[in-house]
């Protein structure tokens, strides 16, 4: 496939990927309800993560050659920054990997009693935010300042909703279910995983705010928007983490 697309087909691609992700999320929920197979859930999560990493985070850009433009060019420096960002994400994913392993070590194939509706709701909010993030980046890559600003703003608001949903609602509801941070280890790992993830969403929101703020001043263009790309990739990374955390906390295994 070619990666240089016109704007409408790029936006259409973002939408297609979003629909696939939404269907897969529904499928995931169905699997959990009907067969509750860990292998299938893991498989679906991997496919979802693969879609996001390839189409939304555009990992293939790491492979781009910018040599012909010279080492002092913006393109070459952006390539270096891109590598640095991905290395950071690789490093960060070890934190989340460690948390996932801790979760399976402590809980095995059981899960805490959480509010399923709320879980699906915050997952959807984050998924929709990724769609708008993709729109924002696609817009600025084609010079559409307005689309970029609107997309970023919506993503930011959805991010705030997500944090509010997890920290403001889910944590309160969990306490009604007698899941406490200072209770048993199941509670501890639940608050730790959601808390660490919410912290990353929050930093993502701050990043998006700086990008939006700079965007209002007109500091990004179709040719120069590394800041937007960085915030976008980071935002999708946080989404990928949730793609694994959501089934691990809400779907996999039997209720405790």
């Amino acid at each position: 496939m070619t990666h240089t697309q016109d704007k409408s087909s790029a936006l259409a691609q973002g939408l297609t990927v979003f629909i696939f992700l939404a269907v897969l999320t529904a499928l995931e929920f169905g699997i959990a309800l009907l067969v509750n197979s860990v292998v299938l859930l893991a498989l679906v999560a991997l496919v979802k993560a693969g879609l996001v990493v390839y189409y939304y985070m555009r990992i293939y850009k790491l492979n781009q050659e910018e040599h012909e433009e010279g080492r002092d060019s913006y393109a070459y420096k952006t390539g270096t920054s891109r590598l640095g960002l991905w290395l950071f994400l690789l490093s960060d994913s070890f934190v989340f990997g460690g948390l996932l392993i801790s979760r399976f070590n402590l809980l095995g194939l059981t899960r805490p009693h959480l509010n399923q509706f709320l879980g699906l709701a915050v997952t959807s909010v984050l998924l929709i935010s990724s769609f708008f993030m993709n729109r924002a980046e696609t817009s600025i890559a084609h010079g559409d300042q307005k689309g970029f600003l609107n997309g970023t703003l919506i993503t930011m608001i959805l991010g705030v909703f997500f944090v509010a949903g997890v920290v403001g609602l889910e944590w309160q509801l969990a306490q009604v279910e007698q899941i406490f941070a200072s209770g048993d280890s199941a509670g501890a790992i639940f608050y730790m995983m959601t808390g660490m993830h919410a912290f990353h969403v929050l930093t993502g929101v701050i990043l998006l705010f700086t990008v939006w703020n700079k965007g209002r001043k007109g500091l990004y263009s179709a040719g120069k928007h590394w800041g937007v790309e960085a915030a976008t990739v980071y935002w999708h990374f946080v989404d990928v983490v949730w793609i694994f955390f959501y089934p691990a906390l809400y779907l996999i295994g039997a209720l405790r």
Binding site: R71, Y76, G79, T80, S81, L83, G84, L87, F88, L90, S91, D92, F94, V95, G98, L99, I101, S102, N105, L106, A181, S182, G183, D184, S185, A186, G187, A188, I189, Y191, M192, T210, N213, K214, K217, L219
Partner: protein, 680 residues
């Protein structure tokens, strides 16, 4: 005051600050505790912090590092007071002896202190400007003279020197901790670290534990900073880059380390801790507040390591000179890549494991508390997933230095270049799958023992490749032995001993006997001296002329080597001997009937001899800096690009770019060339 030399003024202010801080702390402690306690933690902490702050104020005035430390103190107090105020409003215990603030307040204060250090220092100023949309110049000139070493310089050579000086300071600090408890160990029975001994709310036994634990971690941080210093200074020079890929991140990676060191020292003062450097729960979940400062300090230092590694990988991937394909990179660059891959990824897990214990203490979260369904063994898995590969982080750059310098002083090509390049990566890779060999006696699932035994023994293969290469390189070479070469040879011998004493620990049946004995202590001191300390000194003697334009004194250098090497061999062999006979590690006393008194006395003397040799090195460093013999050219007759340019190099390194036209280590082959500089 105005007419004094900065250093004299700084030292007077240091003295004044130590006394004034002590007085302030004593007063506060009296106010809270209601009685005068001359060894109070608060008095010690205020004394140290205000002393250091005034020292740097005297040295550089209210800017850069001095402002950073003032801000760190203010930030720590501010953060702690903030939490204290909230707790007071909630009706919780807010201010209490013996540490003035309660634990959550100290932890939050420690964290805000680090952030304020960075803000006060100015190392994040550019990023704040960028985030606000203000243009910042690509690079900026350094302050003239020595002031640049205290400022957020972007020059990788300056940052390299900053790293190395900090590493040496921590080396001396960690070493002096060792001397204190080594003295206690010189004979059986308790001599001065007794129950009557009182310091910082610890008795002698607790203080022994704290010193022993901090010796471990301070040395580890010192090593991490030392290798970061070498990599920072050398890698851009070796690959022909004008700087690291991300100069601001580079400065940040260094400047996050000093506040981490302050936190580690604070752990000594705030009640200490008694877990050893590993910080295993459940003991670490119960230790005094010092434990939290220790965890926080390591967590922050970890970020220095992670971000430095990230920067290094990006630099090597993106900024190599023309013609420098992978298999023409210097071995040290290969080793740096291997080391950075581990530091980049695995470090997160020691951070996570320590963070989990911190939260367990702060919020009662039961990750590692069996009473709450937690699992203490899980901590050990998370911890060793970093802390075993970490030892390869420590040694791989050192082994790279050995391979780098050996051909220069043997005047022969390095034997098996490709094999040695790949062996570093192989060690790093295998290193990810061996962690549980630290846990053979921990009560983990028994079926894990044998696979981890074999994976551990597998490490010997790539390590053996290195030894074959070194021996084959030495074979029939024209060996000369100036000081750097002496340290290279010392490294090979000492690391060989460290390597040979490894398999008995990796083998389950013998490890069940050897676990937690002095044999282990002897083993890892051998690997770390052979893998880091000796190569580190070799590198300092070798590249000192590159950095300063002067060479270090040969006579003092040789004295350093010939004092340190035999002393160290006695130390490590003696440790292994009593370890085999049953001496436990981490204890302050032993039964005289075991008959270890004589050996322990010899070990203590050897320890002091090593300290003396380090003192000689530091004297040499200071003297040579001012009066060393000028050496601007290619002193060692090396093929490496940095020696083809004058010393010291200016900012952004080479005047003209070079191109790699041959193999890096073809010493003694007539007409062969490694690099060719472009004409001006």
């Amino acid at each position: 005051m105005k007419n004094m030399k900065p250093m004299t003024r700084a030292l007077w202010l240091l003295l004044f600050g130590l006394l004034a801080g002590y007085g302030v702390g004593l007063g506060l402690d009296l106010l809270v505790g209601g009685r005068v306690n001359f060894t109070a933690s608060i008095a010690g902490l205020f004394s140290l912090l205000i002393g250091v702050a005034l020292f740097f104020l005297g040295l550089v005035g209210y800017r850069t590092i001095a402002r950073a430390i003032v801000w760190q103190i203010a930030g720590t107090l501010g953060g702690a007071l903030f939490v204290t105020a909230i707790r007071a409003l909630m009706g919780l215990k807010a201010i209490s002896p013996p540490f003035l603030f309660v634990e959550p307040a100290w932890v939050f204060g420690g964290l805000t202190g680090v952030i304020c250090f960075l803000l006060g220092h100015g190392v994040v100023d550019d990023w704040i400007k960028m985030a606000r949309g203000i243009e910042v110049p690509e690079c900026r000139a350094d302050a003239p003279g020595w002031q640049k070493y205290y400022s957020p310089s972007l020059d990788h050579k300056v940052i390299g020197v900053q790293y190395i000086i900090t590493a040496l300071i921590l080396l001396v600090l960690g070493g002096s901790f060792a001397l204190i408890f080594r003295t206690e160990l010189a004979s059986s029975g308790l001599q001065f670290l007794t129950t009557n001994f009182k310091l910082f709310n610890q008795n002698g036994l607790q203080f022994y534990n704290t010193l022993m634990s901090l010796h471990g971690m301070i040395m580890i941080v010192s090593i991490l900073l030392g290798i970061a210093g070498l990599m920072n200074y050398l890698v851009p020079l070796l690959i022909g880059a004008h700087d690291m890929a991300f100069p601001r991140l580079n400065a940040f990676s260094f400047w996050i380390a000093p506040p981490a060191a302050v936190l580690l020292l604070a752990s000594l003062i705030l009640g200490g801790f008694d877990t050893g450097w590993t910080g295993y729960p459940p003991l670490s979940a119960k230790a005094p507040i010092g434990m939290q400062m220790f965890f926080l300090g390591v967590f922050v230092a970890g970020w220095s390591s992670i971000l430095g590694a990230l920067n290094l990988i990006a630099t090597v991937v993106r900024m190599r000179a023309k013609g420098m394909v992978a298999f023409r990179m210097p071995i040290f660059v290969w080793a740096s890549i291997a080391t950075s891959l581990i530091a980049l990824t695995a470090t997160q897990l020691i951070g996570l494991s320590f963070q989990l214990v911190m939260f367990q203490r702060l919020f009662g979260m039961g990750f590692f508390d069996p009473a709450k369904g937690g699992n203490p063994i899980l901590f050990q898995h998370l911890f060793w997933f970093y802390s075993h590969p970490a030892v390869y982080v420590f040694i791989l750059p050192g082994l790279g230095i050995v391979s780098e310098l050996l051909p220069v002083f043997v005047r022969k090509p390095l034997f098996g270049y490709k094999w040695i390049a790949m062996s570093s990566l192989a060690i790093a890779l295998v290193g990810f799958f061996v962690w549980a060999h630290h846990m053979f006696t921990s009560g983990m699932n028994e079926y894990l023992r044998v696979p981890f035994m074999y994976s551990t023994l597998l490490v010997a293969v790539p390590t053996g490749v290195k030894f074959f290469s070194w021996v084959a390189t030495l074979w029939k070479g024209k060996i000369t032995t100036p000081t750097p070469m002496l340290f290279v040879l010392g490294a090979i011998v000492v690391f060989l001993m460290g390597g040979l004493s490894g398999p008995p620990n990796a083998t389950v049946s013998t490890d069940l006997h050897l676990h937690d004995t002095y044999w282990i202590v002897g083993h890892f001191h051998d690997t770390l001296f052979g893998g880091f300390v000796f190569p580190f000194f070799a590198a300092l003697y070798y590249w000192f002329p590159k950095a300063t334009g002067r060479r270090m004194n040969e006579k003092l250098g040789k004295l350093h080597f010939w004092l340190m090497t035999p002393s160290f061999l006695v130390l490590s062999l003696g440790m292994m001997r009593i370890g085999l006979l049953g001496m436990r590690r981490r204890i302050g006393d032993y039964d005289p009937l075991q008959g270890f008194d004589a050996t322990h006395l010899v070990l203590t003397i050897a320890g002091f001899a090593i300290a003396l040799s380090i003192l000689i090195f530091i004297v040499n460093l200071v003297i040579s800096l001012k009066r060393g013999e000028p050496a601007a050219g290619n002193l060692w007759n090396s093929r490496s690009p940095e020696w083809q340019a004058p010393s010291p190099l200016p900012a952004h390194n080479y005047d003209t770019p070079f191109e790699v036209v041959g193999e890096p280590y073809d010493y003694g082959l007539p007409g062969s060339k490694y690099v060719e500089f472009a004409k001006k």
